[in-house]
């Protein structure tokens, strides 16, 4: 359930702020020195996180960057951890009872030299007392360096896109909110967790939004709760998150972002719609998760990279990959053409390098023709310089080629282009060339889920469908093995 985030004006990029907060945390909450020339002394830390923490950190900082910040080891909080008595431990966890127990255990076992506890969101008072008690018992109070509430309970996937969590999604899903037998407490709990995450978003970006929502459903609950929380916080001058330096205040007065909270019920068709753009296809077909894709490679492919098991390849689709940035919204054919163009361009530069190599070998004896040689040497020099770039490009091209191939296979297999077209036509209310029934009974096309999706969209979009027709469709769907439970829900929903 991603909501519209703050605008990406020149300094307001949420992702960058989150990265800055993480770096500050890893620097033991000391202000990072701004000296550009000097390298700062390394302080060696061990980063300990739980699943929530790792979800937050992994799209933002690579292992390389963690190394640069001085993190020598990163460990799961639940994993067996050994004593490393010279290290400083930085914990980044959700403040749950289990995590707190684990921290206390570590303190008692004297695993590390100093402990910096950073909680993803505010730690409730009783748990804080737990930690205090345990540290007192273990007599390691001086070793607890800092206890910090980071308010980073959201995952920034891109500059202008964040999700609220990636773990235990079942707890906060649409289903959980809207199923008929959900109790009030559960609904309240879900709303609270959503409010908490949104609150972290605004604390990190340092602005108080204007909130707008439709009436009468879960969105209104969330909006009201968030509003209350923000007001309470701003009103309390001692603990307020939002008073800070003048720029933060300026942001408050001039450009408060607009937060629009919508319930999914507003438009059920879109998530079910078959997609045609690159990023959406990867997400749909290949399970793009936290900017990471895992491909199952066929047997006849060349040996894989060392980081993956024999049949799997993992790729990170990053912000820094130029091709990805450019083409992630392009429709599949355009993207395939672009990949081809990149491959051609790369091949030409490779040819150039090869020709240069041979030319250099031949002209080595010419000492008089110094101008020509200077030319060649400078060309060679620039070729050498551009070599690492070319390697990067090659890697990225390979990755995109593999992904595109995998997508193509799936598309062909499931005839997804036909689905897409039909749904598109339905949504734009133009006529269809094949009827839905044909599509459903066509065994060559698509998985049962695909057909289900198609039908649901059709059902949602056509307000007056006869009962008999519905029964007919249902039986057809059951014939191809789709689970018709959603239809009952939709019946109610309508």
């Amino acid at each position: 359930m991603a909501t519209s985030g703050p605008p990406t004006s020149y300094q307001n990029v949420l992702r960058d702020k989150q990265i800055a907060a993480l770096k500050r945390m890893l620097n033991l909450n000391q202000p990072t020195p701004r000296g550009s020339v000097a390298a700062s002394e390394p302080v060696w830390k061990v980063l300990i996180y739980d699943k929530f923490g790792s979800d937050i950190i992994s799209p933002l900082l690579s292992v390389r960057e963690l190394r640069d910040l001085g993190v020598t080891l990163h460990l799961q909080v639940d994993a067996g951890r050994e004593q490393i008595s010279d290290a400083v431990a930085v914990y980044f966890l959700m403040p749950t009872a289990a995590n707190v127990a684990r921290i206390c255990q570590d303190c008692r076992a004297q695993l590390y030299d100093k402990y910096y506890l950073n909680f993803v969101t505010a730690i409730p008072r009783p748990l804080l007392e737990e930690v205090a008690k345990a540290s007192l018992e273990a007599d390691c109070v001086p070793q607890i360096g800092k206890v910090y509430d980071q308010y980073l309970n959201f995952i920034s996937l891109e500059d202008d896109f964040f999700v609220l969590r990636n773990q235990m999604l079942g707890e906060v899903s649409y289903y959980a909110l809207n199923r008929p037998d959900a109790s009030d407490e559960e609904i309240q709990r879900i709303c609270d967790s959503i409010v908490e995450c949104l609150f972290s978003v605004f604390v990190t970006s340092g602005t108080v939004p204007i909130i707008r929502c439709p009436r009468g459903n879960a969105a209104e609950m969330v909006a009201q709760a968030l509003d209350k929380k923000l007001r309470d916080n701003v009103r309390d001058p001692r603990n307020s998150m939002f008073t800070g330096d003048s720029t933060a205040i300026a942001q408050l007065s001039f450009s408060r972002p607009l937060l629009v909270i919508l319930d999914r019920n507003v438009d059920l068709a879109t998530p079910l719609h078959h997609t045609w753009t690159y990023q959406a296809l990867v997400h749909d077909m290949l399970n793009l998760d936290l900017n990471r894709v895992t491909l199952l490679t066929a047997d006849d492919e060349p040996p894989p990279s060392p980081t993956s098991s024999p049949q799997q390849r993992t790729y990170d689709l990053l912000h820094s990959d130029r091709f990805w940035e450019q083409h992630r919204g392009s429709p599949f054919p355009a993207m395939a053409d672009a990949v081809q163009a990149e491959v051609d361009r790369y091949k030409t530069s490779e040819e150039e390098m090869k020709s240069l190599k041979s030319a250099m070998g031949v002209d080595d004896d010419e000492s008089e023709d110094s101008d020509l040689l200077t030319d060649k040497t400078s060309k060679l020099g620039s070729a050498i310089k551009s070599l690492p770039e070319l390697m990067e490009k090659k890697k990225s091209i390979d990755m995109h080629t593999n992904i595109a191939t995998a997508l193509l296979e799936q598309i062909k297999e499931r005839k997804l282009d036909v689905f897409f077209e039909m749904e598109d036509r339905m949504i734009s209310k133009s006529s269809l060339d094949k009827t839905v029934l044909d599509m459903i009974s066509d065994t060559a096309a698509g998985t049962p889920e695909d057909k289900m999706r198609l039908f649901i969209i059709y059902y949602i979009l056509s307000p007056d469908i006869a009962e008999a027709d519905v029964v007919q469709y249902t039986s057809a769907l059951e014939a191809v093995g789709a689970n018709t439970a959603p239809l009952t829900y939709l019946g109610h929903w309508k």
Binding site: D16, K17, A20, A21, N29, P31, T32, R34, V37, A38, A39, E41, P42, W44, V46, R67, D68, T72, L73, E82, I84, S85, D86, D113, N118, A122, I123, L128, V131, A132, L136, D139, V141, Q143, I144, G145, K146, V147, Y148, D149, Y151, V203, T204, G206, N239, M241, G244, D245, S246, T247, A248, D364, E366, S367, L373, T374, T377, S378, G381, K385
Partner: protein
């Protein structure tokens, strides 16, 4: 605030709250445990953990490298900006000082490398598990990275300095030819100092805003020689130097080709590419630096030789002056001798005449004698 682009208010520091909680708990405990004092605080020893040897060594290395960095940074401004400061008469850093800094830095770097290597041997002492050894490995790597970054500072500075020297040489090399041409046309007989310095004067005439740093470092760089004598000698020297300059350039070019595509030599003509050499590895940089040092030495020895030749030519000219004087003297003497001889001959012939007229028998004798003597 300088860091105001990122929101400086992120999260809440609960440390104070935590400490307050600890204090209240302590108080509570004291009240409760006033009765049960026996398993009291005395059981918990103060956790004075002696850090492991590895840790102390690692800390030492870090401190050492930081000292090196501080040293480099302290002198960096002076090192790099010295050329500009010279104009304003500020704290100039002479080449010897720069050399001293370079050698110090080298020593420091070698020292750190030694320490890091000794640390490597200690890597596996007292290791209590896989995580510990991984941790130590990462610590070791991060030490190497830190040293590399600091050494980069040093090599950057050096590269800038060497680039300046090369640029100076390059531009001054172009001067002798130009000067010769000008001499030919204007026939100026300057009694000026060494070629490099006069060329600086010319440069201000020839090319308009030449960077000041080229002018003055020439004074700094080349040793001043005695004033040459006479335009003739100057011209002689210049011609010598100009040719030596061009041979130098050829030699540099040839070295460039021999170097197999090394950027420096190929790009002597276009020094702009030198500024892109920040990607050169340290090894390459030191190689280039050495090569440049050698070339510099070469040029300096040539300048010395040229000066020697100058001296010798002056001596030769003096000797030749003497020689010409002597020759003139000799000519005079010869002339006087010839005059004397001519007079003597005349006298003898007169005497002959007189004797002829006197008496016959003695005549023949005297005649014979006079004839004989003539």
């Amino acid at each position: 605030m300088s860091s105001s682009t990122a929101s400086s208010v992120v999260g809440m520091d609960q440390t104070e709250l935590f400490k307050a909680t600890v204090r209240t708990l302590k108080l509570r405990r004291k009240k409760q445990g006033a009765a049960a004092l026996s398993p009291g605080p005395s059981s918990s020893p103060s956790h004075q953990r002696t850090p492991s040897e590895f840790a102390t060594l690692a800390r030492d290395v870090v401190a050492f490298i930081s000292k090196l960095q501080a040293f480099l940074l302290k002198h960096r401004k002076n090192y790099i900006d010295s050329a500009r400061h010279l104009l304003g008469g500020g704290s100039a850093m002479s080449d010897s000082e720069r050399d001293a800094i370079d050698s110090e830095a080298q020593k420091f770097i070698e020292g750190s490398l030694d320490r890091i290597n000794s640390l490597r041997t200690r890597l596996n002492d007292n290791v209590t598990g896989a995580q510990m050894s991984q941790y130590r490995q990462s610590v070791f790597e991060s030490l190497q990275d830190y040293l590399k970054k600091v050494a980069n500072l040093y090599s950057e500075q050096r590269a800038i300095r060497i680039k300046r020297i090369v640029d100076r040489k390059r531009t001054s090399r172009l001067q002798p030819e130009k000067y010769r041409r000008l001499l030919g046309s204007t026939g100026c007989g300057r009694t000026s100092r060494s070629s490099f310095e006069t060329s600086s004067g010319l440069r201000t005439i020839d090319r308009e805003p030449s960077p000041a740093q080229h002018q003055l470092p020439d004074n700094d760089d080349c040793d001043s020689s005695d004033p040459g004598e006479g335009g003739r000698e100057e011209r002689g020297v210049r011609g010598e130097d100009g040719s030596s300059g061009t041979t130098l350039r050829n030699r540099w070019r040839r070295r460039g080709t021999g170097g197999g595509g090394r950027e420096t030599s190929g790009n002597l003509a276009t020094s702009s590419q030198f500024s892109q050499d920040s990607h050169l590895t340290e090894k390459e940089r030191t190689e280039f630096a050495e090569e440049n040092e050698q070339l510099l030495e070469h040029v300096t020895t040539m300048v010395d030789e040229v000066r020697q030749i100058e001296g010798r030519v002056i001596e030769i000219s003096k000797l030749q002056g003497l020689f010409s004087q002597k020759v003139l003297q000799q000519a005079e003497q010869l002339e006087s001798i010839s005059r004397t001889t001519v007079e003597a001959a005349e006298n003898v012939s007169e005497g002959n005449e007189q004797i002829k007229g006197v008496s016959y028998p003695c005549n023949i004798l005297y005649h014979c004698i006079f004839e004989l003597t003539l």
